[in-house]
């Protein structure tokens, strides 16, 4: 049954963080759009931690904002607390992080969609129509077929989702939601290679049932910061955040029930994230550690629910209750929602191209957890890119391929599409070779050119962006042409102790420029030399990529590599150095170690065995 009233350019399946950005981006660049979601009421819902940002993730949010996306603006509007992480560790790893009012966040996102006139269809997408090479529409259970010229799949953890808690199992994407099983079946039928991943969530506690006095207060950072460049006007309300830690009692409670942990007993086949492990994971891996940090976060302003960050678990209810009650101040805690694990399907990396187009098709795109990533920020950024590229495909324009030397978006897309992960992908600052350049403070300048070329910025947002760029250019000019006491200002910038104030005193041309912009331009100058060297090194490595690894019998004995790399390479067995580079767990210095090993492998004089080894 075809609903001919419903035809559109770009159809997005899924109303999560990826879907929202996708549908907004496609609309911004001029396509007609439809968003299909299982539940309008749950658009933009934060299924896990009610926070946006962090180290590297926070920078990604600023890139999203610089590309005209919604996440940063809405996070600013609904924030309860802001902290800049790593302020003493260097500007290239500063991580802006905002605790949000989860309910208001979702509401605001729905409001954004409404304000942009986005057509939302509340229904279950059950199959794609047409040959995979050219999808002609999407069929929904009640609405029938909606014709479209491109599709973005952004279903998150719903795809074939199964939930686990102790010995309980049930189908779903989140508690209370139904999983889109039929769509997964359709994708499998079209021969998409699918992997199973898992992720977990902690219990939610009833706020009135704990003794806050027993907890350590977490101080908020300054009020000045906004994800949105140029500020977004609205300030949220502030809330109280606390911190506590687990103890021997917590650990023992977990151990007593460990045999019933689906994450550990193999009931869940999916691979979990190494860096966001469940509490039972941590206990098994670090048995001697008696204390782990737990952050206590209200789900919203005045919310009755507290989120326990760090206590993700799939243990049975009794275990969860014991663990929670072992925390100081939680002796009488009531659990409103128990923690659980979700196993879901995601596409194999080989299915996805660097523009997020699915390789088997010409007009099918994917974004978010379905690409194997974890985290709202990662999903939103991918959604923006997928929506943009779907729109450009419809318009017959060349798609955007972000560069890993210019943005975390670029780093992430290249990582997930070339090497794949053995676990859900999470963004870390160390994944970026050009980390000194890819900072949270200069995201607007890094993305401006592509944002304007692609038409992603409009109206006031575009004006603000251009004005700020002008200021930055002026600042840079003043620094390049100025000097103080015979020392060029450019050189002064390299000294870590030199501040904007000091420069303002000697370079009158700098007055009138917004302080944040000036600070950022100074950092660009400070790191310029290192950035150039890094880029040259990257170039050299790209050229060296074709070296063959055929001669290596076993990576386990290659001393020039660290253990993680050895195991990873042994498992994957790449054919060339370029392929080895993309294997997860292999760092740039391991690549050079491989080169070194190949060279020394030709040394037969010392070993005397006469074999000529691998003449790569």
């Amino acid at each position: 049954m075809e609903n001919s009233a419903c035809a559109t350019d770009v159809l997005v399946v899924g109303g999560g963080h990826a879907g929202i950005e996708a549908v907004l981006a496609a609309s911004r660049v001029g396509c007609s759009v439809v968003l299909v979601t299982l539940s309008i009421g749950r658009i933009g819902e934060m299924s896990c931690n009610p926070a946006i940002g962090g180290i590297a993730k926070g920078t990604l949010v600023r890139e999203i904002d610089a590309l005209g996306g919604s996440m940063g603006v809405v996070a600013d509007k609904t924030r309860l607390q802001f902290r800049m992480l790593n302020t003493r560790k260097g500007p290239a790893v500063w991580g802006p992080r905002v605790q949000s009012d989860a309910a208001r966040y979702a509401l605001e996102q729905r409001e954004v969609l409404r304000a942009h006139g986005i057509r939302v269809v509340e229904d279950e997408a059950i199959s794609l129509e047409g040959p995979t090479e050219e999808i002609i529409g999407v069929t929904c259970r009640r609405t029938g077929m909606i014709r479209c010229r491109a599709v973005v799949l952004a279903m998150g953890t719903f795809l074939g989702g199964r939930l686990f808690m102790g010995t309980e199992r049930w189908r779903g994407g989140r508690t209370g939601d139904i999983a889109s099983e039929r769509l997964e079946a359709d994708l499998r039928q079209r021969l998409f290679h699918v992997e199973r991943f898992k992720t977990g969530t902690p219990p939610r506690i009833a706020r009135g049932s704990i003794d806050e006095a027993a907890l350590t207060v977490q101080e908020s950072g300054s009020d000045d910061f906004c994800f949105a460049f140029g500020g977004s006007g609205c300030r949220g309300r502030s809330e109280r955040f606390h911190q506590t830690s687990t103890n021997v009692g917590t650990r023992d409670a977990a151990l007593r029930h460990i045999s019933k942990s689906p994450l550990l007993t193999g009931m869940i086949g999916g691979k979990g994230p190494r860096y966001c492990p469940s509490f039972e994971d941590k206990v098994m891996r670090f048995p001697d550690r008696t204390s782990h940090n737990i952050y206590v976060e209200p789900m919203g302003f005045g919310s009755r629910l507290l989120y326990l960050n760090g206590l993700s678990t799939s243990l049975p209810r009794e275990a969860q209750l014991e663990m929670v009650r072992s925390l100081p101040g939680f002796g009488n805690a009531r659990i409103s929602e128990f923690g659980y694990a979700v196993e879901y399907s995601s596409l194999h990396h080989s299915e996805i191209s660097p523009s997020l187009r699915l390789r088997r098709g010409t007009n099918l795109f994917a974004a978010g957890q379905i690409c194997g990533t974890s985290g709202y920020e990662e999903a939103a950024a991918l959604g923006l890119l997928a929506g943009l590229n779907a729109a450009r495909t419809v318009q017959g324009l060349e798609r955007m391929h972000p560069d890993r030397m210019r943005s975390y978006l670029g780093v992430m897309v290249e990582d997930i599409t070339s090497g794949g992960s053995t676990e859900p992908y999470r963004l870390f600052s160390s994944r970026a070779e050009n980390r000194l350049h890819i900072r949270q403070d200069n995201a607007e300048r890094r993305m401006l050119q592509v944002a304007t070329e692609m038409g992603l910025l409009e109206g006031e947002k575009l004006e603000t962006a251009e004005q700020r760029q002008t200021q930055a250019d002026m600042a840079r000019q003043a620094i390049l042409s100025g000097s103080c006491g015979g020392v060029p200002a450019r050189v002064l910038c390299r000294r870590p102790e030199v501040t904007a104030e000091q420069l303002l005193e000697v370079l009158p041309g700098l007055s009138g420029i917004e302080r944040a912009i000036l600070d950022s331009v100074i950092l660009d100058e400070r790191y310029e030399g290192y950035i150039h060297r890094g880029e040259r090194r990257m170039e050299a490595r790209r050229r060296a990529g074709d070296v063959s690894l055929a001669g290596i019998v076993s990576y386990l004995g290659v001393k020039e590599l660290c253990w993680e790399a050895r195991e990873a390479l042994e498992r994957v067995r790449p054919r060339t150095l370029a392929e080895a580079e993309r294997v997860p767990g292999v760092r740039p210095s391991d690549v050079e170690g491989l080169l070194l090993h190949l060279a020394s492998g030709r040394s037969t004089w010392n070993t005397g065995d006469g074999s000529s080894g691998s003449r790569a």
């Binding site: 180290i55 302020t87 003493r88 260097g90 870390f428 660290c562 050079e592 070194l596 060279a599 037969t604």
Partner: protein, 416 residues
């Protein structure tokens, strides 16, 4: 790397009479050549073979020799090779050399066999250094090369541990402003100790690098030499008296160097000859301090191309206020600039030798430490990365070791 077309040959045993003499022949076709020389059937020497045969020069018997052959890929040079062992009589050796050359072989240049071994990968640059050491008679060379490699690897490990600790701290460590540096500091200290150990080993293996003071006549070179060497050299108020130059092994800011004075350029007669000799003696591992009064005289191209580095010095700075751009202003009279010059000579960034690596590592560790202290962890990570790259490059044969190797190869005699 394409194989050398020539077949080379040379005696491998020292000049003079001895019980045995060995002549090595290397190159594609050398087995066939020796088969012809010894009138053996074709293929008799292919593979790893041994044959005792009578060597004839036309009708005259020369000697009974043992020919041992290696196929390509399994020999010292990596090429097809034959070793001929004969009685250690100089005339016999000379005859065999003649006969080989008659058949098209070429007499090998000093160190050429080892050069080919290096090119084919059977020897690493570290091995060559060690070989030169052994053959140069200073002894303990082979042990040192092993130690050098060990020191490099240990440094690499320590730097990598520090890197890991740092990355872990940036990503998962306490994000609060009052968080400390933690494990990374301890790891960095360990790396610092490894770098110091490497420097010690490298310096001993490298020997001593030359710093030659050159410049037009009477520009004050000898006075400068004095100041830098901290001792008396021959300086006479009469111009043109330092003819032969002087050299001393000096220590400047902890770095041991061979400091050489030289006759000035631009003179005539004996001066001219001496200065030409000095200029032509400049090698690719020498650094030149080009001293001219007030920086007036530019560095000759020949010197710039031949040397590793030229440090331009404008002497007699007490006489003028401005120096030519880039040159260090120095006055032997007032002492101005001498300290800066010493720093420059001692620090030698960018040197491509092994001890240069050790210095870069030490410098890198210092920079890392500074970055950590000023609270810039990603920048510290970049510095660590650069050390890692430098050490990996050195262990990856062929790149920064080039200059040390050239020197070592030249020091070997013919037949090695």
């Amino acid at each position: 790397m394409p194989p050398e077309p020539d077949i080379i040959c040379a005696p491998a045993t020292p000049e003079g009479a001895g019980a045995l003499g060995v002549i090595r022949v290397s190159g594609a076709g050398s087995c066939g050549m020796v088969e012809g020389l010894l009138s053996l059937e074709t293929g008799r020497l292919s593979g790893m073979r041994r044959k005792v045969a009578l060597l004839m020069d036309g009708e005259r018997p020369v000697d009974r020799v043992v020919a041992i052959s290696w196929p390509a890929g399994r020999s010292y040079t990596g090429e097809e090779m034959v070793e001929l062992t004969c009685h250690g009589v100089p005339s016999i050796l000379a005859t065999i050399m003649e006969l080989l050359q008659d058949r098209g072989a070429r007499k090998a240049a000093p160190g050429e066999f080892t050069r080919r071994a290096l090119a084919s990968g059977t020897l690493t640059p570290l091995d060559v250094l060690a070989l030169a050491r052994i053959l140069g008679g200073e002894g303990g060379g082979e042990e040192l090369a092993g130690r050098l490699r060990e020191s490099c690897r240990r440094l690499l490990e320590d730097v990598r541990s520090c890197s890991s600790a740092l990355e872990g701290d940036m990503e998962f460590g306490d994000p609060n402003p009052d968080a400390g540096i933690g494990d990374a500091a301890a790891a960095l200290e360990a790396a610092g100790r490894s770098a110091a150990a490497l420097k010690e080993v490298a310096d001993r293996l490298e020997g001593v690098g030359r710093v030659v003071i050159m410049g037009p006549v009477n520009s004050g070179k000898s006075t400068l030499f004095n100041l830098l060497a901290g001792a008396d050299a021959l300086v006479s108020p009469e111009p043109g008296t330092t003819r032969d130059g002087a050299s001393r092994t000096v220590t400047i800011h902890g770095r041991r160097l061979m400091l050489c004075d030289s006759a000035g350029t631009g003179g005539d007669g004996l001066d001219r000859a001496a200065s030409i000799a000095a200029v032509s003696s400049i090698g690719p591992y020498d650094r030149v301090v080009w001293m001219s009064p007030c920086g007036a005289e530019p560095v000759p191209d020949g010197i710039r191309h031949a040397s590793l580095e030229v440090i331009e010095v404008a002497g007699r700075s007490d006489l003028v206020s401005e120096a030519r751009g880039g040159a260090l202003r120095v006055s032997s009279l007032t002492g101005e600039g001498i300290e800066a010059l010493k720093e420059r000579i001692a620090s030698a960034p960018g040197s491509a030798s092994v001890s240069g690596l050790a210095e870069r590592a030490t410098h890198g560790i210092r920079m890392t430490s500074e970055s950590l202290r000023s609270g810039d962890f990603p920048l510290a990570a970049v510095h660590l990365r650069e050390i890692e790259d430098a050490v990996t490059a050195i262990l990856d044969e062929g790149k920064s070791m080039t200059l040390s190797i050239e020197r070592a190869l030249e020091s070997l005699c013919v037949g090695k």
